[in-house]
């Protein structure tokens, strides 16, 4: 076993743990998974749940792309199409990306800060197990007489209030997701603040821990605002209030302000942990410390702060005073500065490094390139005068899919490949991992790049039919969509192979250039780790050059 731990006794203890590991695992399915308080098992539950939701949301995207393959109405009714666009977004945002990041946090944060478990293990169990109920409720609306929500994931009134009685299920599902996220965030903050191993000072923490710490604060500040917004929709729909009803003295535009006050931090909730994962992977496979560690931390914090004062750039067209539009335009463009710092630092980390291109590295580099494209179209959208043209077109769809799919989803894949050997004890198939990457990277561009042109040509979002002039680009986009969707099945194959069939055992360090506490424990990580806290010093952290 290769070791980089400086404390020999610690490592011996962990090795001992690994040997009689089975003694500590609860027996039986119920005790092991349903009643579990173990951060690794809960992390696994989150990740499996997120992958399932990724495929359910993906199936909905396939319905959307199939209908849009040709102009005209072929496969589904317009109302069902609208339900698909709405549910696809809700499932992917709240069911796939967010739980996947919480899964990573559960698995990796205690391992990376040298804690034996999360700070509040029982609450951890609860925050996972309300999710299956929330999504069962949300998905069940598709089978109700009044149908699922069809007003877009933004749930703008008065359109969203035309949803039938199934609307109550949507609102309560959102409430439950919110409670789950807030509990998860509290748990993560408590773990990071209270459970770090001796010597693990804040500025020695791996960047994934830092980005999640900041994300957790965003969650605590933003999710309750969404809960408030949907609660007001609920009372407007069922109890005769008029928060958003102009006839009763309310204002539907106010909903947009409240929603996006949540909604903009939400997009950083989905992408900040991605920044963290990339900042872990690039140094490992470049065999160089992360360039500008402290700058990365401060850049993340500034992005988080700015995310709370830019929300109205989602609604430039509602009619704001000129001063308001200018403020939100400049504040939005300001975000490009810390984000630019990050991209610069990632590129500088790779500069003159001894790079190798294993699957996690490929996904991380793919992220840096493609996320930057999404960032650039974001800057175009930030220009108020231009946004009036782009608003609610496929250009917006292309923009946010570039930052979410090759952005958040690619880094989820990168992180999964990076830590899979640590989780399972086996190496995955590098050959199939690379095939997965190249298929994903090619088809994600075939899927989303043409949508830029569609948007600039004026094709609106959320429509089941379109003018024949948009036909060719839509066909390309649909072909890319089907191929991208199919490529993700490779990922499932790689995981199944890695967990149950791979013969190649992983070492403790797994990757030659990997540094950090998680690589000091055996692979697979024993059920209980760091029951005796390790003592951390500069030699054990990835950014040793900057850690003091």
């Amino acid at each position: 076993m290769s070791t980089i731990a400086s404390d020999g006794t610690d490592l011996g203890h962990d090795t001992h743990d690994a040997h009689d590991d089975h003694d500590h695992k609860p027996e039986g399915f119920l005790d092991r998974w349903v009643f579990t308080t173990n951060h690794k098992d809960i992390g696994t539950l989150y990740l499996v749940f997120a992958l399932l939701m990724f495929f359910i949301g993906g199936a909905m995207a396939m319905v959307i792309r199939a209908e849009l393959f040709m102009p005209g109405m072929q496969l589904v009714r317009p109302d069902f199409f609208n339900q698909m666009t709405t549910m696809h977004a809700l499932i992917m945002v709240f069911g796939a990306v967010m739980p996947a990041w919480v899964g990573f946090a559960n698995w990796m944060i205690p391992l990376q800060v040298g804690a034996p478990d999360m700070a509040l293990p029982r609450m951890n169990n609860f925050s996972f197990w309300i999710l299956p109920f929330a999504f069962t409720m949300l998905l069940s609306t598709l089978f109700m007489d009044s149908g699922g929500p069809a007003a877009g994931w933004t749930l703008y009134p008065p359109l969203s209030l035309q949803t039938g009685s199934s609307f109550a299920f949507v609102v309560f599902a959102v409430h439950m997701m919110g409670i789950s996220s807030i509990m998860g965030a509290i748990n993560i903050i408590a773990t990071i603040f209270n459970m770090r191993a001796p010597g693990m000072t804040l500025l020695r923490m791996p960047l994934f821990v830092w980005t999640w710490l900041i994300t957790a604060f965003l969650l605590i500040a933003a999710m309750p605002v969404l809960a408030g917004a949907v609660t007001m929709l609920l009372t407007d729909h069922f109890f005769g209030t008029s928060f958003f009803n102009a006839a009763g003295g309310g204002d539907p535009v106010m909903f947009q302000h409240i929603f996006w006050f949540f909604g903009h931090p939400e997009v950083y909730i989905m992408i900040l942990p991605a920044f963290g994962v990339v900042s872990e992977i690039l140094p490992t496979f470049s065999r160089k410390p992360l360039f500008g560690y402290a700058a990365m931390v401060y850049a993340t914090a500034s992005i988080a702060f700015l995310s709370f004062i830019v929300w109205a750039h989602h609604m430039f067209t509602v009619g704001m005073p000129l001063e308001g539009e200018l403020f939100f335009m400049y504040a939005t463009m300001l975000i490009a500065v810390p984000t630019g710092v990050k991209v610069f630092n990632w590129v500088s980390t790779m500069w003159k490094g001894s790079m190798t291109f294993e699957t996690p590295m490929l996904f991380a580099i793919g992220f840096v390139v493609l996320f930057t494209i999404g960032g650039l179209s974001g800057l175009m959208l930030a220009i108020t005068a231009a946004d009036l043209q782009y608003h609610d077109t496929y250009f917006v769809v292309a923009h946010f899919h570039y930052v979410l799919v090759p952005g958040a989803v690619f880094t989820l894949m990168a992180g999964a490949y990076y830590w899979l050997p640590k989780w399972t004890g086996n190496m995955y198939s590098e050959r199939w991992g690379k095939i997965h990457f190249w298929c994903s990277a090619i088809f994600v561009n075939v899927l989303f790049f043409p949508q830029h042109y569609l948007g600039l040509a004026g094709m609106p979002r959320r429509i089941p039919d379109y003018s024949p002039q948009f036909a060719d680009f839509n066909m390309w986009s649909s072909i890319g969509g089907f191929a991208f969707g199919a490529s993700q099945l490779i990922f499932v194959g790689v995981i199944i192979h890695c967990v149950w069939f791979s013969k190649k055992k992983a070492t403790a360090q797994v990757w030659e250039g990997a540094k950090g506490l998680e690589w000091t424990v055996p692979s697979p990580a024993p059920h209980h780790t760091f029951t005796k806290p390790p003592v951390v010093d500069d030699t054990m952290v990835a950014h040793a050059d900057e850690a003091h």
Partner: protein
């Protein structure tokens, strides 16, 4: 398990979690209780949103009821062989008062047919003060062969109708509803 970690005093979690919960609850309160009044204030200062819309009470106070002459006009598109005319050619209408006017429509042909009426108000600037509460033009109308019927329109004139409008015309044109009346001709 956490008790085993000397860096994690049990009480520390409780206090930190308590503080974080307070933040979460405060943000919920911010969304529900602080945003609406803040938004109202913002709208009042900037004159945006609902602040520009007058309530019913304010409108009634601002203008006294008066009499206006309303003319009625009827046309039929050449593809629809109906007889269509207003029952009254004009009437005096008090602003703010609900009023009913009648049109007569008949189908002298030998086949059932359906029509849809479009409407027009002139002068154009009077249009936004002319409010139809119920009208035959809202829905498709069907007349069997030889059927005749009176078609009502319920409307009122908003009290803040500009002073210089003393006369206005409501005009309808009936078009054949081609999508639907083919159904009955099908075998």
């Amino acid at each position: 398990m956490s008790e085993q970690n000397p860096t994690a005093p049990k009480r520390g979690h409780g206090r930190l979690v308590g503080k974080l919960l307070v933040v979460a609850v405060a943000m919920f309160g911010f969304g529900v209780f602080a945003m609406p009044p803040l938004y109202d204030t913002f709208c009042e200062i900037t004159g945006l949103g609902q602040a520009g819309i007058k309530t019913a009470g304010e409108v009634e106070e601002s203008a006294a009821p008066r009499q206006v002459k309303v003319r009625f006009d009827a046309n039929t598109n050449s593809k629809l062989d109906w007889e269509f005319r207003p029952v009254q050619s004009s009437m005096m209408v008090t602003t703010g008062e609900a009023t009913t006017a009648l049109y007569f429509a008949g189908n002298p042909s030998e086949r059932d047919s359906a029509g849809m009426a479009t409407f027009n108000v002139s002068p154009p600037k009077a249009a936004r003060y002319f409010v139809k509460t119920e009208c035959f033009c809202f829905t498709r109308q069907e007349l069997a062969a030889g059927e005749e019927r009176e078609m009502p329109v319920y409307f009122f004139l908003q009290p803040d109708l500009p002073e210089d409008i003393e006369e206005l015309t409501l005009s309808y044109t009936f078009f054949r509803n081609e999508d639907d009346d083919v159904a009955q001709n099908a075998p």
